[in-house]
Structure formats: C-alpha cells, structure tokens
C-alpha cells in the first residue's frame, strides 16, 4: 500500500503506466479518423474539389483529451486506489477482543460480527492467539486464548444480551486478567460506570483499541398513560441534528393476529437527547396494545412492553333515577364518576347498549328491578366473567327485589325497608366500619374514623351471609356483600353511591375499595414492598434484538428481584405474571438516560472517523468505460456517421453517461423519501369534472349492459338535443356515470335504467347516492317493462329495482298527482309515456297537510325537487336519437306513435325543467295574488 494524502494504492507500480499518456497523445494526434465510404451519385460534381484546410484531419484536442482521460482513469483504476485507507494493524502477542454484547449492539450486530471475523482472521494470519469475551456473558475463569480458527467457529454463538454488564462481576473479572495482552474493544457506544475500571486494567496490560459504530443508538422508555393519551419518550445517545423516529404500537387484532395498531412520530430537536410523542387511541384499541417498538431499530432497547398499567377497565355506570337537571352532588353516580374517571373509561347509556360494549364492570346505582330480558343478559354477562357492582338506595329499599328468594343478581336476600341509624327518629349513633377481616379483598386497608353509615339496607341472616360479607359495620351488619356467579361476581354495597346514607363515598377508602374490587385500575408501578413475598412467572421475554419470545419454562422470579427493575442474566426483560396482574420489565426504565461513551485520549477509537474507507477502483473503471463510450459517440459524430434516428439515440446514451449521478440521486430521493399521503390530483379526472361542470350535463348510470348503456346514452343525447332546440337549457353531451368511482354531484339528473342482472352498488356508492339525493339530485328509475303486472310486484326489473333502491334514502312515494309541478314545468302534461304508455309514475308524496285552497288551481306541494321519479315507460328509448337526429327506436304506430314520442320528449323536458327550476312553476300560482297585492 502506497499512500498520498487520503489516497492509497494497492498496486502502485501500475501508475508508471501514466508515463505512456503523452506518447498516446502524440500517436492519437497523428492518426486521423478513419474515412467513411459513401455511395453518392453526386460525386461527379465533386471531382476536382480540394479540401480548404489540411489540419482538419487531425483528431480534435478535446477528443484526444477524452481518450487520454479514459486511459488514465483505467490505469489509475487498476492501480487499486483506496480513499481513506485504514492503517494496517500490526501487533504481536495475544489479542483480547471484548464485545459489549448489550442490546445497543444489536442494531448492527451482523456488521459487528463481520468486523470481528475479519479481525480474528487477521490475527490468525499473524499467528496470534485470540480470546473473545462478551461483557454481558463473561467467560468464567478469565479469557480463553485459542487459535483464531477455533474462535471463528464459535462466533455464531455470540448474541447480544438484552441487559447491561454487571458492574461488580466485571470488576472481579478484570482483576483476574493477566497480561501482556493487546485489547480490541467493540463498544456499543453507551456511557457506563463499569467501563472505567476495566479500561484502566486493560491499559495496564497492553494497548487498547476501541471500535464504535457511528450508527445512532435509539431507545424507548415505557409508555405512560396521562390525560387520556399514551405518552411515549424516545431517547438517543448522541444529541445531534434534528431527526425523526417512528414508533409503532403492536397488539393482537380482533382475529388474534398481531399487527401494528398505531404509529406515532418522534421529533428530536437539534441537540435534544429526548423526544416525546403522544398516542391517542380509543380504549378498545389501547387495551389491545402489547408493546411499542421503534421502527427500523432492531434492539431490545427500542421495544417497550406494555403491561396492565396501560389497560384501563371499562366501567358502565347506570343509575336508577335518570339524570335530570338537579344538583350534581345528589346524583347517584357523581362520586363514582369522580372516583373512576382518572383510572377507568366510563361508559354511560342504557343497559342494553352498554352490554353490547362488553364492559369489564357494570355499576348499578340504586337500580331495583331489571326487565326480565335485561336481567337475563346481565346474568349471562356476569357468568362470563363480568363484575356487577350494585349500590343500594331508596328504590332498592322500597322494592321487593331479593326479598323472599335470592335474586341471582343480588349477593344476599334483603330485609324489607332497611334501617337508618343515628337519624332524628332513631336511637344510636351513625355506625362506623369494623376493620376488614383477613380474607376480605379489602384486608389491610386502613379504616378512617370519619366514615360513618347512617342508613343501609339489611341483609337477611342466612347461612352464607358470613362468608359473603366482605365488609361489615362496627355492629356486625354487612356493609358490602359479594357472591360469585359463574366466572364473575356480584357485589352489593348496602349503602348509596352518594353521600346520602353514608360518608363512605366522601372518603379515600371508597376509591381504595373500588380499586381492590378491580373496578378501577391500580396506580402504575407497584412498590417493592407490595411485591415482597410474591412470585412472578415470565410469560414472554425479549432477546437482545427486541424479538418477543415465549418464556417457556423459566423459573419463577421473586417479587423483590422484579422490583429492582434491572434486567440481568437471570431476569430477562419481558412480561411477568403474578396472581392478579402482569408486570412488564423493560430494558429501558422510566428514568434511564443514554449518554455516549467517553474514552480517554490515550485510547484509539476506530469506526468513528467520518471518512470511511472507500475503494475507488470500480468508480474509476466505470469512469473509464463511460469516457470510452462517450468517445465512441464523439468519434461517430466527428466522422459524420451520426445521422437520422441514430443521432437521437446516441444523444440519449451520452446524456445518460454524463448525468448518472444526478439521476441516481433523484431516483434515490424518489424511492427513499416516503411519499406524502396526499393523493395526487388526476388530470383526467379533473378534465372530466371541468367538462361536467361547464355546462348542464345529463348523466345515466352504467348498468354493465353495453346495449342498454348505448340506448341510455342515445336517449339522453336526444333529450339534450330537444332541450337545446326548444328551451333555454343547453346541455352538453351526456355522460355515463360509474356509481363506484365517479363524482355524482356534478350532475343534476341521473337516468338509471334497471336490468335484472346489473350489479348492486357498494355501500360507499350508496352513501354517495344518498348524499346526492339529499342535496337535490334527481334519479329517474326506469324499469322499462311498462309495469306489466303492477308496480314492482312481479316483473324481474321491478324486483331488482326494489332491491337496488332498498338502501337508498327515498321518501314516501305516490303516483304523480294531477297537480304535481311536473305536469306544468314547461309543457302542460297529464301523461308521461315513453316507449310504453303506462300511467304509473311515482314521485315523492305530497305532505299530508297539503290541501287545495279555494280559488287556487293547484295545491302548494313540496318545496323541493322530488329526489326520485320511478316508472317503467322506457323513456330513453323514446328519446333516443342518432347523430343525424333520426329516432332510433320505434314508438307506437303511425301518427299516434309519433304523438306519443312527442309527449315522451315533452315529459323529459318537463323533468329536466323540474330538476333545474324546482318549484318555480308552483310558485307561479301565486303571481295573480302578488300582482293583486301590488295594486297592478
């Protein structure tokens, strides 16, 4: 290797070939380009003409330069140039390779392994013994120095661990090292306390080289739930320029398939090491999230498992007294709402609606009796694992629910009336609570003095009462009773959910009791004391690459160990299940911060240099080839052989040769930059929209039957032409409309011929149609079968029409009344024939209160355009004209037929006039009255 500045050459001897370039220059200069032989009759006229200048036969200087440059590029290319060559390692004695092998290494683990392999091979060629040690998995008894081959075979067994090296074990291991040894440390680039001692020891033993990858380290902190949003924090080791990172929330979809449920983007400000984002998900979706992962980051630190702390229980609140406008504090559910709102999602509504949402808990506040169907549904829901919490109240006390026999939805039988203590009309003081007995879910909760109960419903003494009571008053009467029902349970608070009967809802105990009943969710991380003595079982574990694996048969983990929150060899990060909840142990804790490793100046750090080693040989050879290709084109051009179609091709090739870089960059930009979600506007679609809106355009629905579509088009063409001739409406050529893809709102009028086998539009198309009808569009349905057999009852077209129109938002219909505005918008008509002359044409029914006023010829009918006109007279066939204006289809016979065609056309004109002018002609009725009023 021979280097000049940042350039190195592997075979510098070849550079001597550059000496030949001047000689080449001279040779090329002396040889003129080869002549072209042409057959040309005009040569007779050329005889005797001589060339004006004799220098022109020399090769032009720029072509010479091109050729010499090509040859020079080839010579330099074959000399093996390398930009920023890495210095060759030279060392003797044993080589110790340390690999951090933490989760932060996982991001480019294959590259590290490849580098490691090269390193070991190189050491092997030098005959040095090698030892490889992963700091997260220290080889017991010090490093094992072996031959390079042996280590290369063992390399695939190395894997990054999803935890960090144990400082104490590392220090002990470092003590055991003996030298002299040269160390090559593949660092993951994160600052760590344990590094300093080890580095000191290693430097004492021999030279140390550190390798760090320039790729950024990103990590994800556990998600928090705040203010109805999931808040996520991403960390990066080196605060640098502003970047973005994407995070995905993964979970099972309703089919049980894991998929990405949501994404969010982190925006790292320039110089910031943390970035935060919020994810707002509906509760159903949120409860499905099992983990968050930074996309494109393959490491355990970029994955954060979600545990129960993200899950929020859905609680349905139902009160017996409907919420009226009354004092809030008296509302039966006010305190429940206050207690549950921070930690649970509250659903309100009727019982039947609520059950559909399948909540975790249903709270019935002073609801006495349920309808039998509701009671059955609730019971089924409880038996499948629901928790029904009931509160007593005046209604329950007054009813006879669970009086004689135990109601399935009540834990105990109740005595009539209840009791009140400490009131004006009773003896005794309000009762306080007795401390909770062992075995009660409330065991251990402190009982505040100020909680008193002044009224309650009383349970019938039963053999089962004692075991069902989970909270009692000081005098032993049950306050809270519970029974299991199927998989679920029913809990009754014998007091009201508001402060009328007791001060329990006012106290913090109420919230804690709800928590213990698993009505609300517990606060996030349990304290170490809570976990003391518990045993946790791993359900899922993460490996160093952030892949979630089934835990298999890992031994149970004591709660104290889990509470430390530091993953280690015996405690891989993952999801741990306890008795009633699951805890996630993540690589990155809520407080973890990342910082880049700092190495003392005495240590050589590799891999961080901005200039990467780059082999220039392919580049130069490609340049030489490109120049030669250019030379071919230039020589052809000079020789006059580049004419006609070949010239264009050659120009394209030359351009492609000259501009490879910008093109490549553009292609990369196009491919790499994620295209914005905004749909590009379609010019053809825009043109169609402009054409449809510059004039009145009649449209027909594509039925899929080409003959029928042609007929409809010809019909609308005929109608358009007649409108043009006879009225002020000047329509453009009619348009066929595809309901699925085309925009309908451009067309005032749609003609929809019915065939029995036309496809039913999609729900989206129906939504579009309904929007169209509501916003003033008119659809003329034509069954084209003259309603043989009565309207829509038996003809196939009629049945199809019923089927097609069922999802449409069509108002009540009636046959066209004689005073409908359709009968007089342009022509005075009473018949609406097409090719058939059936009477039954249906339009929107008149409002029931429309009555004919004395002296008025017409009723004051709808104020709108009727959204549909339905008939079977095959109007389009009667309207249809060819380009020359001749009718396409026969109508009737002789003059009567022509008359029928004319009336059909008049109906069409009336219809379009009705569409375009609405009830204008209806309002004309008032003209005499208005004129009269004006005194004219």
């Amino acid at each position: 290797m021979w280097t000049i500045g940042p350039l190195g050459f592997t075979t510098p001897m070849l550079l001597l070939g550059l000496v030949l370039l001047p000689i080449l220059w001279l040779i090329l200069r002396a040889v003129p380009p080869a002549p072209v032989r042409r057959r040309f009759p005009g040569v007779a006229l050329l005889l005797g003409l001589s060339d004006a200048e004799h220098q022109a036969d020399r090769t032009p200087w720029w072509l010479l330069l091109l050729r010499v440059a090509a040859v020079a590029a080839a010579i330099i290319g074959f000399a093996g140039p390398v930009l920023n060559p890495e210095p060759e390692r030279s060392g003797r004695g044993p080589l110790l390779v340390l690999v951090d092998a933490t989760w932060a290494d996982a991001r480019d683990w294959p590259r590290r392994m490849a580098g490691l392999e090269d390193l070991i091979e190189e050491a092997g060629r030098a005959g040095r013994p090698v030892a490889v040690a992963a700091l997260t998995d220290l080889p017991p008894g010090g490093p094992q120095f072996q031959s390079a081959d042996a280590w290369i075979r063992r390399l695939p067994a190395l894997a990054p661990a999803p935890w960090e090296p144990d400082a104490a074990a590392l220090a002990a291991w470092a003590e055991g090292l003996t030298g002299p040894v040269e160390t090559y440390w593949m660092s993951d680039g994160l600052a760590r306390e344990s590094r300093a001692a080890l580095l000191e020891r290693l430097e004492a033993l021999g030279p140390v080289t550190v390798f760090e990858s320039p790729r950024p380290v990103l990590a994800l902190r556990p998600a928090r739930f705040e203010d109805g949003e999931i808040r996520l924090t991403a960390l990066r080791a080196e605060p640098g320029a502003a970047t973005e990172a994407e995070v995905g929330a993964f979970g099972l979809d309703p089919l049980g398939v894991e998929r990405q449920l949501a994404t969010a983007t982190f925006r790292f400000e320039a110089g910031a090491a943390e970035a935060e984002t919020a994810l707002s998900l509906p509760p159903e979706l949120r409860n499905r999230v099992t983990r968050f992962a930074l996309t494109g980051q393959r490491s355990a630190g970029a994955v954060s498992l979600a545990d129960d702390s993200l899950k929020r229980r859905e609680v349905a609140l139902i009160s017996g007294t409907p919420a009226r406008e009354r004092l809030r504090l008296l509302s039966p559910t006010h305190y429940l709402e206050q207690a549950l709102a921070p930690t649970a999602d509250i659903i309100e509504g009727g019982l039947d609606e609520v059950l559909l949402a399948n909540p975790d808990v249903i709270v019935l506040a002073d609801v006495a009796r349920l309808a039998p169907a509701e009671a059955e549904a609730v019971q089924a829901w409880v038996e499948e694992g629901g928790l029904l919490v009931r509160f007593a109240g005046p209604r329950l006390a007054a009813s006879d629910v669970s009086r004689d026999a135990e109601d399935p939805l009540m834990p105990v039988r109740l005595r009539a009336g209840g009791r009140s203590v400490g009131g004006a009309m009773s003896w005794g003081e309000p009762k306080t609570l007795r401390p909770f007995a062992e075995g009660s879910p409330f065991y251990g909760l402190p009982v505040p003095e100020e909680v008193t109960v002044s009224a309650q419903v009383m349970a019938q003494p039963d053999p089962t009462l004692a075991e069902r009571a989970i909270a009692t008053l000081a005098d032993g009467t049950p306050l809270v009773t519970r029974k299991s029902l199927g998989e679920g349970q029913v809990v009754l608070f014998h007091v009201t959910a508001n402060a009328e009967w007791s001060s329990l809802p006012l106290s913090g105990l109420f919230v804690q009791m709800l928590e213990r009943l698993a009505v609300s969710t517990r606060p996030e991380t349990p304290a170490a004391a809570d976990l003391a003595g518990t045993t946790w079982r791993a359900e899922e574990v993460l490996d160093g690459f952030g892949t979630v694996r089934d835990a298999g048969t890992l031994p149970g983990i004591p709660g104290e160990r889990l509470a430390e929150g530091r993953p280690g060899p015996g405690l891989p990060p993952g999801l741990y299940a306890g008795e009633d909840r699951r805890l996630a142990l993540n690589v990155i804790g809520a407080q973890t911060a990342l910082a880049p490793a700092v190495w003392p100046a005495t240590v050589a750090v590799e891999g961080l240099a901005l200039a990467e080693e780059r082999d220039l040989k392919p580049l130069l050879l490609a340049l030489a080839l490109g120049l030669l290709a250019l030379d071919v084109i230039a020589a052809l051009a000079l020789g006059g052989r580049l004419r006609g179609p070949r010239a264009g091709l050659a120009a394209a090739v030359a351009l492609a040769l000259v501009l490879p870089l910008p093109q490549g960059a553009a292609a990369q930009a196009a491919g790499g930059g994620s295209a914005p979600a905004e749909a590009p506007s379609d010019p053809a679609r825009d043109a169609a929209a402009i054409a449809a809106t510059t004039a009145v355009v009649l449209a027909h629905v594509k039925t899929g039957d080409p003959q029928l579509d042609r007929m409809a088009e010809a019909g609308l063409f005929g109608l358009s032409r007649r409108l043009f001739q006879r009225t002020a409406v000047e329509p453009a050529a009619p348009v066929a409309v595809d309901l699925e893809t085309d925009e309908l709102s451009f067309f005032p009028f749609l003609y929809w011929p019915i065939t029995p086998d036309q496809p039913t539009p999609s729900p989206e198309a129906y939504a579009k149609l309904n929007r169209y009808l509501r916003s003033g569009g008119l659809i003329l349905f034509d069954t084209r079968d003259a309603n043989l057999g009565g309207f829509g009852t038996s003809t196939p077209n009629g049945r199809k029409l019923q089927q097609l129109a069922a999802p449409l938002d069509i108002p009540p219909l009636e046959p066209v009344p004689p005073d409908h505005v359709l009968t007089r918008t342009f022509y005075l008509l009473q018949d609406f024939p097409g090719r058939h002359a059936s009477r039954d044409v249906w339009v929107e029914a008149a409002p029931p209160d429309a009555e004919q006023v004395e002296g008025m010829p017409f009723r004051n009918l709808n104020d709108n355009v009727t959204p549909v006109v339905i008939g079977g007279n095959d109007w389009a066939a009667a309207w249809a004209l060819d380009e020359n204006g001749n009718p396409l289809y026969p109508v009737g016979r002789g003059f009567a037929g022509e008359r029928q065609r004319e009336v059909a056309v008049r109906f069409g004109i009336n219809l379009i006039m009705h569409v375009l002018t609405g009830n204008y002609k209806s309002d004309q009725v008032h003209v005499p009255a208005l004129l009269d009023r004006l005194g004219q």
Partner: protein, 291 residues
C-alpha cells in the same frame, strides 16, 4: 408437357414486375383529368371546331342543316383536326439512378420509371402514339404498347455509371421527354438536344434528384464513390465541400435550363422526396404546350 408450365412460370416471372409498375402508373395517371389536345385547326376529329359557309365543293351531306336553317346561307360544320402525336421517352437507367438516400424513399430510377410510364398511360389514353427511343418500343398507340414500354423500362439498366440519352430513331416533329438525374456529362445531352432541335422535336427535361443530392448533409472524412464505383473522391472535411457542391449543382441546373431555352424544350427538377403527381402534371403540360 413440361414446356408449357416452364413457359408459363417464365412468363409470370417476367410479368411479375410489370403489373405493379403499370398499376401504379395507371393509378397515378388516373388522377389527371384528361383532355384531348386538339390541333386547333379544322380536320378530322370528334370535337366541334367552327361553322363555315358552304362552298360548291362541299357535298350536300356535309351541310349542317340545323345551323343552316337559322340563316339564309348554308353552313358546314367543321370538326377540329385531331392528329395523333408521337411522343418518345428516354428514362435513364444508368447506375446513378439506382440511388436512394433513405430506405423509405424510392430510388431515382424507380421514380423516373413511374413518371415515364404514367406519362405513357396518359398519352396513350389521349390517343397519342407513345414509345421509347431505340428499337425496343417504337411509338405506337393502344394498350399493348403500354405493356411493351413497361417491359423495357423494368428491364436491366445499362451498366454505365451515368446515362446519356441515345435518341436514335427520333421522329421529326415529334415530342420527347428525357427523365434523368443529368449528373453525368452534359455533352451527350447537349448533342441530343441540338439534334432534336434540328428535327423540330420539342420536349421536356425532368431532372430527378434525391433529397440528399440537393442537401449534401455530410461531414467528416469521407470517400465518395459513384454507384458503379468508377468515380471516387476523397475529402477530409466533407462539410467544407457543401457550399461548392451546391454551387456546382445549381450551375448544372442552370445549364439545363439554358439548353432547354435554346432548343425550345422545357426543364424542371423533381425530388424523389416529394410526391410524383406534380411532376407528372408538369410533364404532361410541358408536352402539350405549344409555343
């Protein structure tokens, strides 16, 4: 038994090029609306020429009674003298005519043959006697003559690099048309034209050129060869020659014009890049026009 099929196949092979050329020529000719070219003097013919007062030498049946009834004297209806004219064509078949600069262009020879035959079609339909110079197709009338002309035209051209008209058997006071590129020596053309002028023959010179010959779009070091390979010229910068070549070409055209003017002929240039019909019309009018 074998003779007949062989004869037939040979005949078909021989006739193969004829119908397309003839058909093409007929097609081209059919686009020209034909008018009989009268002699503008009274004689035998179909067209009315004039009424003249009857003389005693006129037969009674020569008197046009319808015209005479309108006046007191007798009139004779005279027809225009329609004499058949002999037209002789020379279509250059030399090697230089086989040049076509682009595959989609016809060669000059093909275009010249087409024009010549189409002209023959027109003239024969007009009742003239048409033929080629030389013994192969002496002027005659009637459709069979067309086939004869076509056969001679599609025959092998002579091997010479540049053609020269050989106006053997030039009929006095006939008409003639020379179709060639006239790129060779002009001396032969001059001689023939002077000979023609001596015999009172009038006619047209049509110079058929390829677009490339008029543009000279060449560059670089080039060796130009004639089609037969007998002439060659080497240049190092073809582009420099363009102006001088075009100058010489213009001079050649001017010389032809001058010759034509001297001898009462007409001259024009036709490019194979353009349509054939204008050239045909020009030829037809040139042969018809009188001084």
């Amino acid at each position: 038994m074998t003779a007949a099929p062989r004869l037939r196949s040979e005949a078909e092979g021989l006739a193969a090029p004829l119908p397309p050329l003839l058909a093409e020529a007929e097609h081209l000719a059919s686009t020209v609306l034909l008018g009989e070219h009268g002699r503008r003097r009274s004689g035998l013919g179909d067209e009315f020429w004039q009424y003249r007062p009857a003389t005693s030498s006129d037969e009674a049946r020569a008197i046009d009674w319808r015209r005479s009834a309108r006046s007191d004297s007798h009139f004779v209806r005279e027809k225009e003298w329609q004499a058949a004219q002999s037209v002789q064509l020379w279509v250059d078949g030399a090697a230089s005519m086989r040049f076509a600069s682009r595959p989609d262009l016809p060669s000059k020879a093909a275009r010249a043959r087409l024009l010549g035959l189409a002209l023959a079609v027109l003239l024969i339909r007009g009742g003239e006697r048409v033929g080629l110079f030389g013994e192969a197709a002496r002027p005659a009338r009637g459709e069979p003559q067309l086939l004869r002309i076509a056969e001679v035209l599609t025959g092998e051209g002579d091997g010479a690099d540049y053609g020269a008209p050989e106006a053997r058997g030039m009929l006095p006071h006939s008409r003639a048309a020379f179709l060639s590129d006239f790129l060779g020596n002009t001396a032969a053309v001059e001689a023939q034209l002077l000979k023609a002028a001596d015999r009172g023959v009038r006619g047209a010179l049509l110079m058929v050129l390829d677009p490339q010959e008029e543009e000279f779009p060449f560059d670089g070091r080039t060796i130009f060869e004639s089609m037969g390979g007998t002439l060659r010229h080497e240049t190092l910068k073809a582009g420099d020659l363009r102006a001088r070549y075009l100058e010489r070409l213009a001079a050649r055209k001017a010389r032809l014009e001058e010759l034509a003017r001297m001898t009462g002929w007409q001259a024009s240039v036709h490019r194979t890049g353009g349509p054939a019909l204008p050239a045909l019309l020009w030829l037809y009018r040139a042969l018809e026009r009188r001084r």
